[in-house]
Amino acid sequence: MKCEEAGHVCDKNQYKEANFMERVQLAIHLMYCSACRKYAFNNNKLTKALKKSDIKTISEADKNSLKEQLQKEMNK
């Protein structure tokens, strides 16, 4: 497995979308590649932080209606 692919599998794994074979190959790659190990470490940390924060976003539809409202007020 090349580093580029390892990064890709590592990303997929953050969303539980990497299959078993990919995970095994990634684990092997990480054993000898410190650069990817670092990336994986930070990547996992980011995923954990995102989960922990439980952030919410406003849906696009609601954002658009906010925009419309603001626009209407600005045109007055």
Binding site: G7, H8, D11, K12, Q14, Y15, E17, Y39, N42, N43, K45, L46, A49, L50, K52, S53, D54, I55, K56, T57, I58, D62, K63, L66, K67, Q69, L70, Q71, E73, M74
Partner: protein, 185 residues
């Protein structure tokens, strides 16, 4: 140093998620939060001539929002006071001095936890703001709103490998930004 300027046309894109996460932990229900944010934007628009440019646009909006939240509390409190029923189990039959109550519950989410998580959330949204628009939108859809890969690809008319490249760049930038602004503490 240049003074801060207001640009209401960008408010929704730049700050609505930030304000939303700021509000949602302080009021009950996302509908109320959205209403308060819309009120905040409108109030900001009305008083934009009072903006002196000393604080950043976002800080200024937050200060308006805080006032809106307080107003909201005043309103619900004055409604509540009229029909308040106090219930206490400390009546004659069950004397209320239970040992269980004095023991702290380790599984209870403490106020500090909640607060820290909220701050973390705001730090994340800050970092999202440093990504370019397409990256940020796709990253948000995939990571926060949990859309399927396929659904996002259809929406933006991109291939799956294209999507993963965008996600990869976004994650890399996010991790770096979080390292600088959050994890270092």
């Amino acid at each position: 140093m240049s003074k801060h300027q207001l640009d209401p046309t960008k408010w929704v894109d730049l700050y609505s998620d930030y304000l939303f996460n700021f509000t949602i932990v302080r009021v009950s229900g996302s509908e109320i939060a959205k209403d308060l944010i819309s009120e905040t934007f409108l109030a900001g628009l009305k008083s934009k001539d009072n903006f002196k440019g000393e604080a950043s646009e976002r800080t200024w909006l937050i200060s308006i929002l805080k006032r809106k939240i307080i107003d909201h509390y005043r309103k619900i409190n004055s409604n509540k006071g009229k029909a308040e029923v106090r219930i206490s189990y400390k009546d004659d039959e069950s004397e209320g001095d239970w040992l269980e109550e004095r023991v702290s519950d380790p599984f209870d989410k403490t106020a500090e936890d909640t607060m820290e998580n909220t701050e973390l959330g705001l730090a994340i949204i800050n970092c999202l703001g440093t990504l370019n628009e397409k990256q940020a939108t796709i990253f948000k859809m995939k990571t926060i709103d949990n859309f399927d890969t396929e659904a996002i690809c259809n929406e933006f008319n991109i291939s799956a490998s294209n999507l993963w490249v965008i996600i990869h760049r976004a994650r890399k930038a996010m991790a770096e930004c979080m390292e600088k602004t959050w994890f270092k503490n």
